[in-house]
Symmetry: C2
Subunit: 116 residues, 2 copies
DNA sequence: CAGGATCCCGCTCGATACTG
DNA sequence: CAGTATCGAGCGGGATCCTG
């Protein structure tokens, strides 16, 4: 499994190309959507849930932790009365946006081709 | 599940953004690697298996079919004595390469940041 | 409001064996 | 060589409940 190597039982040699590791940044079903939602600016937890309706809180939380740990986004806790947390793309995270836009562009044209 | 909607039981409304559908093009664990391996030119089935060691024949076959159907790559059967099949990126498929390169670039710098 | 804990499901993938 | 068929495992994910 290239997107995430966690099994020690994996007998196969690691793929030489580093694409796998890099793609892991947008792995999981929702990571790309999170980055996408953050591209216009910082968002709070429930705002992200609203942006991406079908995502569950658990998975959103998991993806946010993962992306934060990878340095794609930052987490700012506001010590207000109802605690609120703001997530924002880091500089490096922001650089993923053009790439996603390019993929969306191509995907769009592929779809047009499909639907006739 | 945004990358692929096949369950009819999904009660949630489809996400308005089309990112999901577009990301489906490089979904699955290996699609990106396949595109990556093809970026330098056409490759045969077993060459791809060699390029991406841990992939199984079954999954490679499945991904190739999917990518062909989506219009990302083309399949050319050579009627030689040992049958050989060449896979190559289509024009649209080729346009995904810069996007992948951008992601790899960012992923690389993220990794450097991680490892210190 | 933000998210952790738990349970369960199903897709994706790997291994192996087999076909044209 | 280029796949397909079958089997089984594991991880990602959804639903629900619960906490600070």
């Amino acid at each position: 499994m290239p997107l995430k190597v966690r099994k020690n039982k994996s007998p196969s040699p690691p793929p030489p190309c580093m694409l796998s590791h890099c793609m892991a940044v947008i792995s999981g079903a929702w990571a790309a959507n999170v980055i996408w939602s953050l591209r216009a600016g910082p968002r709070r937890f429930n705002e992200l849930r609203t942006d991406i309706p079908p995502i569950s809180a658990k998975v959103l939380s998991a993806r946010l932790s993962e992306l934060e740990q990878r340095g794609v986004l930052s987490r700012n806790v506001q010590p207000t009365s109802p605690p609120s947390v703001e997530y924002a793309l880091t500089d490096l995270g922001g650089e993923l946006v053009p790439a996603l836009e390019a993929i969306v562009e191509v995907g769009h044209r592929l779809k047009m081709r499909d639907d006739g």
